[in-house]
């Protein structure tokens, strides 16, 4: 059931916030041992909150648009009084004293936060394997990764543990796991959603967004969390339009740009086939397909890994063992420097260290111009590519990922292979443009495939309209994940 349907049922009195919360907590209890989507499940807190929402409804108080809907937050978003770890050993036991703006806004909209989900440490990764708390598994095939870095949120939504979850997307970290788990993932325009309280990975690229089953739910959730926030100087004062009203199903005359040259090597044939079929579906609904070129999109990966690591090396400097988080055991003759080095060495995982070192190098005297500055220049060229394209088309379509979900451990030894998984997603972060992934088919092995649309800056309306229209003609998003269903249908007597 979608969040929209759930909240309507609660409002009608067909069920209650407590009953809905309990049902989801039960499902989490059953599936979590196999899926490992959550770092923390806040069952008591969630039930208390659901009870107070039911009381509000009884008292005839005005109810929020997400009234009674259970949600999960990626564990890099601060929640007051609830541990927030970024799946890093360096933040084990860290309990923020304040709420991220998105947490405050979700609660103000009536949502019930049921837990914090697993991620690649500090959102650095594409498989959720770089988690200090262990990997999350794909509900479609437990031997495979859910993607990442928002793998916990994607798996939780795909497995029906929550109807809605928030992820963060720096280079594809919402859209890629959404694609690999067969759900919808939306990265809004940079500045659309406040980053206040999001543990920064790369500040100029990070953006929070929804993971849901339907585009309609994504619109509902974005409406709740989006809009200007005085705590984030990069949040836009651009007015949030009526997103639900935009979902008209109407795509007649809408122009969809397809960068054929960019879809060449390395894309799985099953992915290409599903992508082409999806385009045909949209054309049949009245959209026009237009061949376009994005000459600089091929530089996306190197540009992304220069800028993202540079910013990360600075953003992660605060984890120094001084004020919070992990501090090494101090020996008698240790210097301050030793304390820093050992605390960080013990606290950070291998991928995080790799990126801090790369980013430190990129910003170093003598290299800054050749790497950081050059990357920023190419970033501008890429932005111009899209500006040019959006003069003639309304959205750009690509596959979300070059392959379906890969096996756990398959790419961990080869970071470059892992990085290439982001080939289609990094452009939206580098340009700040909104992008969405929707389910568009399955591989031969019944693994989900994602279709990505990228829209104009702050034009989530068109983006959501196309994606929603596509969902009206397809049923991929209604399919249940095989492995999770098998677990649910297991006789109660089995261990």
């Amino acid at each position: 059931m979608t969040a929209r349907q759930l909240t309507q049922q609660i409002r009608r009195g067909d069920t209650s916030a407590v009953a809905v919360c309990e049902a989801h907590l039960d499902r989490i209890k059953t599936l979590e041992p196999a899926v490992s989507a959550f770092n923390t499940v806040t069952a008591e807190r969630a039930l208390a909150r659901a009870r107070s929402l039911d009381a509000l409804q009884q008292a005839g108080a005005p109810l929020g648009p997400l009234h009674g809907v259970p949600v999960a937050l990626k564990d890099n978003m601060c929640t007051a009084g609830v541990p927030t770890t970024a799946s890093s050993k360096i933040l084990r036991g860290f309990v923020p004293p304040y709420n991220a703006t998105v947490a405050t806004r979700l609660e103000a909209a009536g949502a019930v936060i049921v837990g914090k989900t697993n991620l690649d440490e500090f959102a650095m990764g594409s498989s959720t394997e770089n988690s200090a708390l262990g990997p999350t598994r794909n509900p479609w095939d437990l031997d495979r990764t859910p993607g990442g870095s928002s793998g916990g949120s994607a798996a939780a939504v795909a497995a029906g543990m929550v109807p809605l979850a928030l992820g963060s997307d720096t280079g594809g970290s919402i859209r890629q796991p959404a694609a690999l788990c067969g759900i919808v993932g939306l990265k809004p325009t940079y500045g659309r959603v406040s980053r206040y309280g999001l543990m920064a990975f790369a500040s100029s690229l990070d953006q929070i967004g929804p993971l849901t089953h339907t585009v309609e739910d994504a619109a509902l959730m974005l409406a709740a969390i989006g809009g200007h926030d005085g705590h984030d100087a990069t949040s836009s004062s651009e007015q949030l339009p009526d997103l639900l009203a935009a979902l008209t199903g109407e795509v007649t005359g809408l122009r969809i740009g397809v960068p054929r040259a960019f879809l060449g090597d390395g894309v799985d044939p099953a992915i290409l086939a599903a992508f082409n079929a999806a385009l045909a579906t949209l054309a049949a609904r009245g959209a026009t397909l237009v061949d376009i070129e994005l000459p600089h999109a091929g530089y996306g990966i190197p540009v992304y890994y220069l800028i993202a690591t540079a910013e990360a090396s600075s953003n992660l400097a605060r984890y120094d063992g001084v004020r919070y988080g992990h501090r090494t055991a101090i020996e008698k003759d240790d210097t301050l420097r030793t304390m820093y080095e050992r605390s960080r060495d013990e606290g950070f995982g291998a991928e995080v260290k790799r990126r801090i070192m790369l980013g430190t190098y990129v910003l170093s005297a003598g290299y800054y111009d050749a790497y950081y500055l050059k990357a920023q220049q190419v970033r501008t060229l890429l932005r111009q590519d899209f500006e040019r394209v959006f003069a003639t088309v309304d959205v750009v379509a690509t596959p979300t990922t070059p392959t379906p979900a890969f096996k756990l451990g398959e790419k961990t030894s080869d970071p470059i292979q892992m990085y290439l998984n982001d080939i289609f997603t990094v452009s939206a972060n580098l340009t700040g443009l909104p992008a969405i992934s929707v389910p568009c088919g399955f591989s031969a092995g019944r693994l989900p495939i994602g279709l990505q649309f990228t829209g104009r800056s702050f034009d989530e309306v068109t983006l959501l309209r196309v994606a929603d229209a596509y969902q009206r003609d397809t049923a991929f998003h209604t399919e249940s994940p095989t492995a999770a269903e098998a677990l649910m249908n297991r006789p109660a007597s089995q261990p």
């Binding site: 601060c78 927030t84 004293p97 304040y98 005085g230 990069t234 400097a317 004020r323 910003l363 005297a365």
Partner: protein, 481 residues
Amino acid sequence: MSDTFEAVIGLEIHAQLLTATKIFCGCSTAFGAPPNAHACPVCVGLPGALPVLNRRAVDLAVTAALALGCEVQERSVFARKNYFYPDLPKGYQISQFELPLALGGGLQMPASVGGRFVKLTRIHMEEDAGKSLHEGFADSDRKTYLDYNRSGVPLVEIVSEPDMRSAEEAALFFETLRQILVWLGVNDGNMDEGSLRCDANVSVRRPGDPKLGTKTEVKNVNSFRYLEKAIEFEIGRHIDVLDHGGRIVQETRLFDAAQGKTYSMRSKEEAHDYRYFPEPDLPPLMVDAARRDRIKAALPELPEARRRRLIAEYGIPEYDAALLTQTRGVADYFEQTARSCGNAKAASNWVMGEVLRNMKERAVAIEAVPITPAALAGLITIVEQGTISSTVAKDVFARMYDTGRAAAEIVAADGLAQISDTSSLEPIVQRVLAAHPDVVAEIKAGKDRKFQFLVGQVMKETRGKGDPKLVTDLMRAALGT
């Protein structure tokens, strides 16, 4: 100093902007709170916290820049200066680097120190760091405590060109700059509390050599006198090293005030690579022409201009004008008093005398002096009218200060009016003469300097209220001298 060398000095001055709240969060900037009382997720660098720029801090920085003749940049960019230190919560300081808030400008120095125009390189905005507390705790031998109250306090860094040629000139530059910043209300000038700090870059070279010598930086010198001493010492040290065939090592040094010497803190080889890059959490700072012009229009008359005007407008001596323009408040106080009483020189004397003396003794600013300019003018007027003598007036001033009452009221209530009628004074004169026959004899024998003694005795009997001129006349008449 050896005449074969010329000193080259540039200063970097950090001035705290007088805002109520910090530069990137809503925490108070008040000095003296218990450690970490003014700390929030933003200024202690909690994960996920983000900076939001304080507009008031920008206005104050622009005010300073315009007053110093700088070109305020329409677009400036914040940058991260990356280094690890426990008092730096984020592992980087938000500052400005390639594109600062303001460029150029400078200060005209007086002829006494060479009459140069000392140019400014730039003014940029940044946040202050916290404070490491190494002493004062039971376990201070093992632990360092951290206080983040200062973390995020707004600063401007004012960087001069290496245009100064003597320690005296540098100290005067710093002093003049301080006066202007305080005058503008941009900074409180309090060097003890660290709201104004100075680093000096010093080098020496042969006169006429266009190339600069290797420089050393003396950090954190917090008084004009120490700055002068530290630079003086550094110049001497450089010359000494070079005279002995040595080489100056580029390094950062600290000044030990007790010993009057500088010592090495770190050399260039140990210098940080700060890995500056544009701060992605803050959009570029835009100061459009309208905002700049609005601030410019609101600039007060600056100390130097004010000094010249006071001389021209009120006809007071240069000495008075210099003293009265130490702060804007004192200058305002003087002008209001002068206008109210119509006697500028009397107003100047009172402000330079009793008013400044009381401020110094009580360690208060002019704003805390309870006597209003109008009240002081009232006192000056009754002195002029002869109602009280200037001696009594000082006593009246003290009572005005303590009670807040008006001068006329005090004079009436306490019976302090001058005695200027002959019938009251004559008997006293006679009494004093009768009591001191020996003195009278001496005067009659030609020792006229004893005359003042007798006048003083009469004044004493009248508790200072006798009209001194009348007393003198009566005394002369009585003695027949």
